[in-house]
Every structure is written in C-alpha cells, then in structure tokens.
C-alpha cells in the first residue's frame, strides 16, 4: 500500500498532464498544477526552514565549531522574518493595511534588502570574473584535440570582441575578409555554435521524454520508495 499509492499518483498525474496538452477542456489543469506546486512549496518551507533552524540551534547549544556564526544566521533570520511578516515601517500600511506592497520603498524590509541582500548577491555573483580567470589559466591548454578545438574557438571569440583582434587581422585583403577575426567569430557563433546547440537541445528533449516516461511508468522510482519491493 505505502509503496503502490505514490507510484499510482505519479502515473495518473503524469498521464493526465500529458493528455491535457491535446484535450482543450483539460488545458486548465496544467495551470492549476503550477499553482498547486507553489502552494505545496510554501508548506514544504516549514520543513526546510525548520531544518535550517534546528541545525543552527544545535550548533549553538552543543557549541560545535563555528557556533558563533550560527547565532548570526538565527538573528538575521528572525529579524528579517519579523520585518517582512509584519511589514514594519511600510509607508503603505497606513492606507492598505496588510495588502501593502511588501517591497514598498521606505519599508524596513526593502531597506535591509538594499543594504544587505542585494550587495551580497551582487558580490557573490561578481566573484565569477575571478574564477573565469583562474579556470582559463588552468583549463584552456591544448592537451588533446578536443581541448585544442575548445581553446581555439574560445580564443577567436574573445579576440573578436576586442580591438586587439580587429587590429591584428586588419591587414587582410578583401578576398580574405572571411578570416578577419570579427567575421570569423560571427561565423563561429552563427553557424558552428548553432549546430552544436541544436544537437544538445534535441538530445536533451529525447533524454527528458525517456526519463519522464520511466518516471510516469514507475520504472524509475528510487526517489519515491527505493528499489524493488
């Protein structure tokens, strides 16, 4: 029982959603599924948030390594939660009550967002530039034919975007214009790159069809109830 019902649920929902694509009156089900998902995800947050709190509280109570930082996380969490749930300092509260825009300019929630969350996100994201440098230095070496093709193609595109590249092939006569870096890089992007992208995209579609079918038919069910019964 405990194992069969989930598999049955997967089979029935999956089947209905696939059919709904072709049956106009059922189309509405597809939209509802998305809303259902959002609602379930909110309930699931009680589990996720609970786990976050539990792990950090345990760290503090048992004085595990770095427990001080767990306090910071907990304090940050509760402050932000209170600011948001009660919409503190929200200028729209006066007129609209709790229907006020959560992110109204001037609310404390938005202020913390601007001063803390936004710069942290942007900074973390911008670390990428550094990692691109170290990855290029380490990985872009002509170790074998595959790596060489990767390297050359990346290099041409990089060249094509800077004046260095444009200058370096500027001497070429008209009949060789195809080999001018800016043209070559555009050709790589528009033709060879496109071919590779298409092969990957078609492959992904086939992979998903097969994977979804395995899931719906209950052959792939390790995520629900372990291996064979």
């Amino acid at each position: 029982m405990k194992r069969t019902i989930p598999i049955l649920i997967t089979f029935i929902t999956g089947g209905i959603i696939v059919l709904a694509e072709f049956i106009p009156p059922w189309a509405i089900l597809r939209e509802h599924v998305l809303i259902y998902f959002q609602i379930i995800a909110v309930f699931a947050f009680f589990l996720g948030g609970g786990s976050l709190l539990k792990i950090n509280c345990q760290k503090v109570v048992r004085k595990r390594e770095d427990w001080q930082f767990a306090i910071v996380t907990l304090v940050g969490f509760f402050i932000m939660l209170a600011l948001g749930l009660f919409k503190m300092g929200n200028p729209e509260m006066v007129d609209l009550g709790f229907a006020a825009d959560l992110n109204a300019s001037g609310s404390w929630f938005k202020n913390v967002f601007d001063a803390v969350k936004a710069p942290l996100s942007a900074s973390m994201y911008s670390l990428l530039a550094f990692f691109i440098a170290s990855a290029s230095y380490r990985a872009f070496r002509a170790k074998n034919s595959d790596a060489t093709v990767l390297l050359v193609s990346a290099f041409i595109i990089l060249l094509g975007q800077t004046f260095v590249g444009v200058v370096s092939t500027g001497w070429m006569p008209e009949w060789m214009s195809f080999f001018k870096v800016e043209n070559l890089s555009l050709w790589l992007l528009a033709k060879a790159n496109l071919a590779g992208q298409r092969a990957i995209l078609i492959g992904i579609a086939l992979g998903i069809i097969s994977m979804s079918l395995r899931v719906i038919l209950g052959i792939e069910r390790t995520h629900l109830s372990g291996g064979d019964e």
Binding site: P6, T10, T13, G14, I17, E21, R30, H32, F37, Q38, I39, V42, A44, F45, L47, G49, F69, V72, G76, F77, F78, I79, M80, L81, S105, N111, D114, A115, K117, L120, A122, S123, Y125, S126, L128, A129, D146, A147, V149, S153, A154, F155, I156, S185, L188, K191, A192, N193, L194, A195, G196, R198, A199, I202, A205, L206, I209, S212, L213, V215
Partner: protein, 217 residues
C-alpha cells in the same frame, strides 16, 4: 540604489569586501557575511512566498474579498491538502503520507516537461534546421552545410547503443569537435557580460562607497 541611505551604502560596501575576502582564503569575516546572507535571504524568501503564494494565490483565491465579484476557486484546496500532507513528515507514524504530494509533483513535472521539451526543443530545432543547403553565396552555402552536418554529427555523438567505431566513430569524433566549438564560443561570449558585473562592483566600491565614506566621516 539611487535612494539608498548612507548607512545602507556603508554596510553594503563592508559586505562586498567581506565576500571578496574569500578569494584569499576562508576567514571569519567571510563567515559572518555568509551567516548573515543565509539568515536574511532565507527569511526574505519565506516572507515573499508567504505573501505571494499562500496569501495572494491561495487565501484570496478561496476566500475572495466580499463584493469583488470573483468566485472562490475551490480547486485550490487540492494544493492546500497536498501541502498539509507534506507536513505529515513531522509526525513519525504517518510520515509516509508525505510521499503523496511528492509523487504528485514528480508526476506532474514529468508530464509537463515531456511535452514542453518535445515541442520547444525537438520539434522546433528540427524545423529550423530544415534549410536549403545551397544558398546565394559560397559562404552561406558553407554555413548551411556546417549547420546540417554539425547537428547530425552532434546527435551521433550522443548515441548510446552503438559503439563509436569506424565511420560511425569518425562522425562521433566530428560531433565532439562541434560540441567543443560550441562550448568555446559560448564561454568566450559569456565572459563579456560577467566582467561587467565585477566592474560594476568595483565602481560601487571606488565611487559610491568611497564618496559616501568621505561624507560620513
């Protein structure tokens, strides 16, 4: 952030430096930034989800404000029931019930993606590849041959049930090269926009933050 307060900018700058310090090595300052980030952002999304999904979508959906003329959408209760089953996880005796919503989501996702990708990836890409091989100019002709052959050899590389040997192996090898050109090209192209992010941060530190610093002290 044109209207950010001086204190806000000051804090933002400190946090930026804290994150950058990770590049040297893991250190207490980074740990503090990380801890703040986790706590604040988890709560941020909790609040955001609470108001957008639970309050607006669900609550206003099943209990529309009186006189608004909107009918209650009773189907939404289904989502709430599944959500509640999710919470059964916390009660050991009936925690197996939480597999039901999970099974529902997995099934629905599989169904949705199967159709979505079949149409947008497979059909659409095959359709766009059906172009005349011979074009007006030699260059364009070369281009359309590249696209057609590249796509087909790329697909050959993905074959699972046939060994990459002989002609087939040769085609698969060409396929790998096509994929490598693709990876190289998108790597090279993405670099441009990633750099502007770092430049943006540096600009913030050297201009907004430094100026603000001068004004504060």
């Amino acid at each position: 952030m044109p209207d950010a307060s001086p204190i806000g900018i000051f804090i933002a700058g400190l946090l930026t430096l804290g994150i950058f310090s990770f590049l040297y090595k893991d250190n207490p300052v980074y740990k503090v930034c990380e801890a703040i980030f986790i706590g604040v952002s988890a709560a941020y999304w909790a609040v955001e989800y609470f108001y957008s999904a639970l309050y607006r979508k669900f609550w206003l959906g099943v209990f529309p404000p009186a006189g608004s003329g909107v009918e209650a959408d009773l189907l939404l209760w289904g989502g709430a029931i599944l959500g509640a089953l999710m919470l059964c996880r916390m009660i050991p005796k009936i925690n197996w019930l939480s597999r039901w919503p999970l099974a529902f989501i997995v099934g629905a996702t599989a169904g949705l993606y199967m159709m979505l990708f079949f149409v947008s990836n497979a059909m659409k890409q095959i359709e766009s590849t059906m172009q005349p091989l011979i074009q007006d100019s030699l260059l364009e002709t070369l281009g359309s041959f590249t696209i057609a052959i590249g796509t087909i050899t790329g697909l050959i590389y993905f074959f699972f049930s046939k060994e990459h040997k002989g002609i087939f192996g040769g085609a698969a090898k060409v396929g790998i090269w096509v994929l490598m050109v693709t990876f190289g090209a998108s790597f090279g192209y993405t670099v441009m926009s990633r750099m502007s992010l770092l430049i943006g941060r540096m600009d913030f530190l050297f201009n907004s933050w430094a100026t603000n610093f001068g004004q504060m002290f």
